[in-house]
């Protein structure tokens, strides 16, 4: 009798082997479900259902912006060295989840080679930007010659809350390419994840949650760009919008027009690479993409310059 029970238990354990996961938003260091209660289905190449992903609404955007605003000042006020350490730590945690990322990307249509190359590139990019936190001021700050008795100097400061519209692909590298310069700059962000390939973004949220990044600095919400871009581009408490030119032209125009309300900075980068490009020549595509992302000027774009006139006397 006792033996039979054991074998029953084992079979039960086996059927429970893979529990489909419900992916959620990442707001203020927590994983709330979308307020809407709506979901869309993400399917593998073979049509198999992989996961339900939340269709977030303006209220999720509102909550995320609120969290980002609250967290921003303390992030910007950390020492540059400390911010570098925290960003570096993301790469450490990300490496531990290599396999999960690769599997998820392959499920969604990546070739294994492209997925692995992309994750390598992500790690390299994180370490690259982690190094910039305490150098950006030295390289780009300046002492300016002026024709009066003033010590005149300029330094970079954070702008505030940033709305990041992730490119569809490369799903992780593209998002990090837009995110990391902002983290270095001292901004806090609300990321609208890729609609077609949301899993790497959602898993990246889990990386953040277990790293040292303070709650609220990076918030990730999933859903339709056509539903999430209007509220974020109209939001008066968002200071910068970044995305890339693969975004639908009407939505890009909306970003530009609505941003006039509070003078948001709007940056649309050249289009990132498509999945076809990534899969057909992964080596060349990823290395070109990485090369263009490793650029400190991306940090300058999302900072503001403060110039101080300090009186001096003989």
């Amino acid at each position: 009798m006792a033996k039979k029970q054991t074998s029953d238990d084992t079979s039960q354990i086996n059927t429970m082997n893979s529990i489909p996961k419900t992916y959620k938003n990442y707001i203020n260091g927590e994983f709330p479900r979308t307020e809407s209660g709506r979901y869309y289905s993400v399917e593998a190449l073979d049509g198999k259902h992989i996961a339900n992903i939340g269709l977030s609404t303006r209220k999720d955007v509102r909550n995320a912006v609120q969290a980002a605003r609250k967290a921003q000042a303390s992030w910007a006020n950390k020492t540059a060295y400390n911010r570098g350490q925290i960003i570096y730590r993301i790469a450490e945690i990300l490496s531990g989840r290599r396999e999960q990322f690769t599997n998820e990307m392959v499920l969604l249509g990546y070739s294994k080679e492209a997925a692995e190359l992309e994750i390598n590139a992500c790690n390299e990019l994180i370490v690259y930007f982690a190094g910039w936190t305490d150098k950006i001021g030295q390289v780009f700050g300046s002492v300016n010659p002026v024709a009066s008795d003033h010590f005149n100097f300029s330094r970079q400061e954070s702008v505030g809350v940033v709305g990041i519209i992730s490119p569809e692909t490369p799903s992780l590298l593209g998002m990090l390419g837009l995110l990391l310069p902002n983290m270095v700059a001292g901004n806090s962000q609300v990321i609208i994840a890729s609609k077609q390939f949301p899993l790497p973004s959602c898993t990246f949220a889990e990386v953040l949650a277990t790293s040292d990044v303070p709650a609220g600095i990076v918030n990730i919400i999933t859903g339709l760009k056509s539903e999430l871009i209007p509220p974020i581009s109209k939001h008066m408490d968002v200071d910068v919008l970044v995305g890339d030119c693969s975004l639908d032209i009407e939505l890009r125009v909306m970003c530009e027009l609505e941003s006039a309300s509070n003078m948001k900075k709007v940056y649309f980068w050249e289009s990132f690479n498509s999945l076809e490009e990534l899969n057909s020549s992964p080596n060349e595509t990823i290395s070109t993409c990485l090369h263009s992302l490793k650029d400190p000027y991306h940090i300058l774009h999302v900072q503001e310059v403060k110039t101080t006139w300090h009186p001096i006397s003989e």
Binding site: R62, V65, K234, H235, N262
Partner: protein, 294 residues
Amino acid sequence: MIDRIPIDAVGIQERVARVCTRSIKKESKLQALDLALRMMDLTTLEGSDSEGKVRQLCNKALHPYTELPNIPSVAAVCVYPNRVALAKSILNNSSISIASVATAFPSGMSSLIIKLDDVKFAVSEGADEIDMVISRGAFLSGEYAKVYDEIAQIKEVCGTAHLKVILETGELGSLENVRMASDLAMKAGADFIKTSTGKISPAATMPVVLVMLQAIRDFHETTGRKIGMKPAGGIRSSKQAIQYLVMVKETLGNDWLDPSLFRFGASSLANDVLMQWIKEKTGRYQSLNYFSND
């Protein structure tokens, strides 16, 4: 003199939870926000209050948001007695009342003579409303008659000024005490009963306010007199304010949905109400960057 009425704390909690589920959206939300703004006692009660700060507060009371001239002004500003004259000089030609805390605010730890003088001074400077504190020490040691007499004497020197009695519910310990202090204050002549000074945590909470509202309802049923209610401290968001309004309507009825019988004592609430108001009108979530601090 005052009966001790038992309070069902669990029942109160459940009632409050029920009130908080009401969905107030769109047009009704706009009306509620409009009402909340008209019911506001814009308050600054800091030791650091300078002339400039009070001047700024008065201007905010007159023109909550200059880009929207149609937005209603608040009910009153609430300041310390030595800032009443300044507030009066700015708000003289407006409908905004001047409320002043008095009676050795916030502790109330002084002699009756000094408390009375404090009130007389505020009234002579031009205060329309006096927010007094009760002697919690005396109340908690059972000297109810002393507390009653103090309120009655202060009411006398108030003259035409309205008297709001602050119970400081955060120091009273139990809902029974809150109910008892409410009954006592109303019998002694209070025009309003008010939860807190804002200096003690917890300040206004919904269960406490519900108990006070029920006391007002019972007092009205027995005497026919309508006493006002003012929750103060801790109400920072429009959502909270609307929940309070729902509770007032469902406990006391429409008569109390008026600035003459209900007030919010708050400072940061005003900006949130304005932000929500503009959000409802424009569909844009607002930023605190564009609203003045005071």
